[in-house]
């Protein structure tokens, strides 16, 4: 099946502006159709939400699959920042943080 995704709109290593952190993002396989198979990326943002916005600029549509229209994380999606599980999208990020987005354990 051919699923066509828009081309990435920015260099993956964008410049780091004031108040903006560069973090190492690891993505679970359920998101790899957006990133053409890439599982590790460098992304920027002063908060988790800003990081997701940066990710969505590069891979349009990915944020809405993770966060609903009221800015709430999807029920079965988990965000880890340096191993801490969080649903707070305003959580501050620092340079060098490790962020992991994964589908929560749920079956059927």
């Amino acid at each position: 099946m051919a699923l066509c995704r828009p081309a990435s709109s920015r260099n993956l290593r964008a410049g780091n502006g004031a108040g903006v952190s560069t973090v190492a993002l690891r993505l679970a396989p359920l998101l790899h159709s957006y990133t053409r198979g890439a599982s590790e990326l460098q992304v920027t943002g002063g908060t988790l939400n800003e990081m997701l916005q940066d990710l969505d600029r590069r891979y349009p549509g990915i944020r809405f699959r993770l966060v609903d229209e009221q800015d709430r994380p999807r029920r079965h999606v988990r965000f880890f920042v340096n191993d801490a599980d969080t649903r707070d999208l305003e959580m501050k990020l620092r340079d060098g943080d490790n962020v992991y987005i994964v589908g929560a354990l749920s079956g059927g």
Binding site: M1, C4, L30, D68, R72, R74, H76
Partner: protein, 377 residues
């Protein structure tokens, strides 16, 4: 069937999408797929206006809802740039979020590129660019009585409350109908700016007032394209017909055999005869098993607008077959004689190429089937 076209059956399942392509006699089917393996696919529809644009409503167990669109009848796909989504809530307002896109309907023939989508929870969305970007129909989604009509998000199907059966009058694109489970049937005469309930005569035995103005549970509503003043519905409490301008539903399912009843989920119409329709009855007694009554599946058809019903079970299992057919999983094609198709939650597709006289199983062992649609491609 013209040589250059073939019948395509699009199958939406809980674990992906499949297609069945028929030979001209519709007695052999080639199964293709899966596509979107692992996605929860609620509906796949080919645009009859161009026979190329195909939309597919999907989510996954983890990721949020979206719509995929194809410009080559399913050969390749792109995701919608802006899937259906409710407006961001104002401070203190209710935060509604689309759980899944349940229903897709191409717009009026005079509006190429226009599509409508129904969602869970109940919401109506419109695209004017063949499914790339979707905007809410504010006249319904923001209606001050919407929560009152629907009973809120706790009143719905086990898989969530839904807006479905988006119907457009072929004579007038401003006149539309939707079904809401729960909520009832609603009509607009101004393309969605204003809405009114249209449920007179429709039973809601699960409510204190069994004939309320709204709050019914229509499982499937259909409008006949050649007689748009005629609607049918299969709802939680029976089979109904309505002939405008009288906006009163007449329960035509009472003519069904009492041991079978007139409870079910889907409904299919003959494309050329407004008096002919088919239903798939399921057990609606006690705790609502919603399987073929007695384990003996059958389609029932009427050729006189519900005055009488005929059992159509030749070729179907005679016993111990506990079929459940969901509301989108029964359809008719546009050929002569009409072909009928239904898909079960146990992953089988049954077909008849002679209006239900004889049935054949044409696919089995698929995932749980959510929806079937036919198209000529």
């Amino acid at each position: 069937m013209p040589d250059e076209t073939s019948l395509l059956l699009m199958i939406a399942t809980r674990k992906g999408s499949f297609t069945l392509r028929a030979n001209p006699e519709r007695d052999r089917f080639q199964l293709e797929g899966p596509q979107f393996l692992g996605h929860v696919v609620h509906h796949i529809v080919l645009d009859p206006r161009d026979r190329r644009t195909m939309l597919l409503a999907a989510s996954t167990g983890h990721l949020g809802p979206t719509v995929f669109r194809s410009a080559d009848a399913g050969g390749s796909w792109q995701e919608a740039e802006r899937p259906p989504q409710f407006a961001k809530a104002v401070a203190g307002g209710r935060k509604r979020a689309v759980d899944h896109v349940f229903w897709l309907t191409p717009g009026h023939a005079d509006e190429p590129g226009v599509w409508y989508a129904g969602t869970s929870p109940q919401g109506l969305f419109r695209s004017e660019d063949a499914g790339r970007r979707w905007e809410g129909v504010a006249g319904l989604n923001d209606h001050p009585l919407l929560d009152t009509w629907t009973g809120g998000e706790q009143d719905g199907t086990p898989d969530g409350p839904k807006l479905h059966s988006v119907l457009i009058d072929p004579r007038d694109r401003r006149r539309m109908y939707v079904g809401m489970s729960s909520g009832g049937v609603f009509a607009t005469d101004d393309q969605g700016a204003t809405w009114r309930p249209m449920n007179r005569g429709s039973l809601a035995e699960f409510r204190p007032d069994p004939f309320p103005e709204y709050g019914q549970d229509p499982h499937r509503v259909a409008l006949h394209p050649l007689r748009p003043d005629r609607l049918y519905q299969q709802n939680h409490c029976g089979i109904y017909r309505l002939d405008l301008p009288d906006e009163t539903w007449i329960r035509v399912g009472e003519r069904m055999p009492s041991e079978v009843g007139d409870i079910g989920l889907p409904l299919a119409l003959h494309p050329r005869d407004p008096d002919t329709a088919w239903v798939f009855p399921m057990d609606g007694s006690t705790v609502w098993p919603r399987v073929s009554p007695g384990g003996k599946p059958a389609v029932y058809g009427t050729g006189d607008a519900g005055q009488s019903w005929q059992r159509l079970d030749q070729g179907l299992p005679r016993e111990q077959a506990w079929f459940t057919v969901k509301r989108q999983a029964f359809c008719a094609d546009e050929l002569a004689p009409v072909g009928l198709y239904f898909g079960t939650t146990s992953g089988s597709v049954w077909a008849s190429n002679n209006e239900g006289e004889q049935w054949h199983c044409v696919a089995q062992h698929l995932p749980e089937i959510y929806a079937l649609e036919t198209a000529l491609v």
